[in-house]
Subunit: 308 residues, 2 copies
C-alpha cells in the first residue's frame, strides 16, 4: 500500500497528539484593539491566523480551515483563505479544507482540481456523501496519484443528524449483527470498502470519516464505541469538542489507543484569550499564547482520557 | 403568505417556459479563437457568460451558476463568479447559486450571509440535506426576511443516487401508502412541512427540491410521477437534461402543467456552437446565437411535452 497523507496524519498524531486546530476565524474572535489596526477584516484574519499557526504548530496534528468563514468576507476572504492554507502547509502541518463538497462527477472533478492543486491546495478535504459514491470517486483519483485524503460526513455531532443520518434502514445489517443499520452505516460500509482498495501503511484508508464527539446519553456513548470498533480502518475527523459541547472522555471513545482520529476544536482555541487575565488589552501575541496553552491543555486532556 | 423569490420564478416560468440555463462555464467550452484573445481564462469566461446571458435572457426562466467551475480558476475565478451573478441579476433574471452547502448551524449562518448578501448575492442556492434540518434552518431565516429561496438535494439524476438517497427506510410510509419510503422521502417530507410554514402566493414553498430527470426505466418514470404528485407543494430544480441524458418527455413528468419546476441544461446550451455550421471560425457572438437557439428549442420541446 502506498504512503499517503493519512499516514502523515497518523504519524503527526503519534508525535504530537490528536488535536486538530480549527481556523474557523470569525473577525469578532480577534482581540478588538489589534483588529482595528487593519484596513480590512480579511487582512486582520490572515494576521491572526499567522499568529495562531506559529503558536500552535507544535501542539497541532493538523489544521482544519472552514471555508465558510472566508467566503463571507467575499473575494478578499478567499485570498485570505488561500494564504492561510499556504501558511500552514509551509510549516509542514497537514491541512484539512473543510468544504463539505458533494456533487455529480463532472462537477466533483472541477472541485477536486480546485482544492487538491493550484491556489487552494489542501492535504485533505471534507466531503458530503448524499449524492453517492460517484460524487466521491473523482476525489479518490487524487488519493491514488498524489496521496491526498478526505473525510466524508458519516455521523455528525449536531442534533439534526437525527433527521437523516440516523434513520434506520430496512433489512439486516451486512455483518449479521442485531444492531440497527442506519443511513450512516451505509456510508461507513462504502468507505470501509474504499479503505480496503486504497489504504496507507498504518492501516487506515486514504479516505476517512467525520464522526462526531458529543454523545448526549449512555446509548450514544455505546453507539460511539460501536462505530469505532465496526469501522476500524477509517480514520476519524471528530468535531464537537469544546464550544460545541463534547469533552475529552467522549472524544477518546472515537480514538484507538490515542490515534486513529483527530479531534477538532475551533472557538475554544481561537477565543481562549477572552478567558485569560488581561483580556481587556489583549493583542494578537497575547491571544496566540492563550491559544497555544488551550491546545496543549486539550492535547493533555485527550492523552489522559485515552489512557484511562 | 408573503411574496418570495419562488413566486418570481413561478411567474418567469409562466411567461418564458421552464428553461434554466446553467452557467457551468468551463474554459474549453468557449470558441478557442476568441478565448485566446483574453489574458486569462477567468476574463474569457466572464466575457462569454455576458454574451450567453445577453442572448438567452428572453428564453431563460433563470440561470444556475455552478461555483465549482469558478473555484477551479482560483481567486480570479471567484471574482468572475461574483460578476456573473451580478450580470444576470441586473437583467432581472433570478439566479440560482449551485453551491450545495450543508453544515452545522454556526457555519450555515456564515454561508447564508455570504451567498444571500454582499458580493456573492444570489436569489436561490442549492443545499445538501445530509446533516439535517438544523443545517437548513439558518438559510430559511433569509426566506422569511428577504424572500430568498433554496433547492435542497432530494432525488438526484446520477447513478450514485442509488447508494444512499434511494435506500429504503424501516417502517411504514407516513401517508399510509404501500410505496417504499426512501431516504429522499424523509428529505421530501421535511421540505413539504417547511413549505407549509412558509410558502409563496403561487402555492409553492419558499424552499424547493432538486429532483433529477433522467429515468432509466419505466419504474423510474413511475417514481418520477409519484414524486411529482406526492410533493405537490415543492418547486423542483430538475437537472439531467441534455448532456446528462434526460429528454423533454422525462423532464415534463416532473412539471405540473408546465410549471412547478425549472429544467436545467448547461453544456447543451454553452457548447451548442460546436454543432453549428461554421464552428471552425466561431466567435463568442456566433456561440451566443447558437446558445439562444438551443435554449429556445429546449423551451419549445418542454412546452410540447408538457401539453402531451
Amino acid at each position: 500500500m502506498p504512503y499517503c497523507n493519512m499516514d502523515r496524519l497518523y504519524e503527526a498524531v503519534a508525535e504530537k497528539g490528536p488535536v486538530c486546530v480549527g481556523l474557523d476565524t470569525a473577525p469578532d474572535y480577534l482581540p478588538p484593539l489589534e483588529r482595528a489596526r487593519y484596513a480590512g477584516d480579511a487582512d486582520a484574519v490572515l494576521a491572526y491566523n499567522r499568529a495562531i499557526i506559529d503558536a500552535t504548530a507544535a501542539a497541532a496534528a493538523c489544521y482544519k480551515i472552514q471555508i465558510a468563514y472566508y467566503e463571507v468576507l467575499g473575494v478578499a476572504g478567499l485570498e485570505c483563505y488561500a494564504k492561510t492554507l499556504a501558511l500552514a502547509r509551509e510549516r509542514g502541518v497537514p491541512v484539512i479544507a473543510d468544504i463539505k463538497r458533494g456533487d455529480i462527477a463532472d462537477t466533483a472533478r472541477q472541485y477536486a482540481s480546485a482544492h487538491f492543486s493550484g491556489g487552494f491546495e489542501a492535504d485533505f478535504v471534507t466531503l458530503s456523501p448524499y449524492m453517492g459514491m460517484d460524487s466521491i470517486a473523482p476525489w479518490f483519483t487524487w488519493a491514488e496519484t498524489k496521496g491526498k485524503g478526505a473525510f466524508v460526513l458519516m455521523r455528525t455531532s449536531n442534533r439534526g443528524m437525527l433527521d437523516f443520518e440516523h434513520l434506520e434502514l430496512r433489512g439486516p445489517a451486512p455483518d449479521g449483527s442485531a444492531a440497527p443499520r442506519r443511513v450512516y452505516d451505509a456510508v461507513g460500509e462504502k468507505l470501509a470498502a474504499l479503505a480496503e482498495t486504497l489504504g496507507g501503511v498504518h492501516g487506515y484508508g486514504a479516505f476517512g470519516a467525520v464522526v462526531g464527539a458529543d454523545p448526549k446519553s449512555d446509548d450514544e456513548r455505546k453507539e460511539a464505541q460501536r462505530l469505532r470498533s465496526r469501522y476500524a480502518g477509517l480514520f476519524f475527523l471528530i468535531p464537537g469538542y469544546g464550544a460545541q459541547g463534547g469533552g475529552a472522555a467522549d472524544a477518546a471513545l472515537l480514538l484507538r489507543d490515542g490515534n486513529g482520529g483527530v479531534v477538532n476544536a475551533s472557538r475554544s482555541i481561537l477565543k481562549a484569550w477572552t478567558k485569560a487575565a488581561g483580556a481587556d488589552t489583549a493583542d494578537f501575541a497575547f491571544a496566540a499564547g492563550a491559544a497555544r496553552r488551550a491546545a496543549e491543555e486539550m492535547r493533555d486532556a485527550l492523552r489522559d482520557a485515552a489512557e484511562r
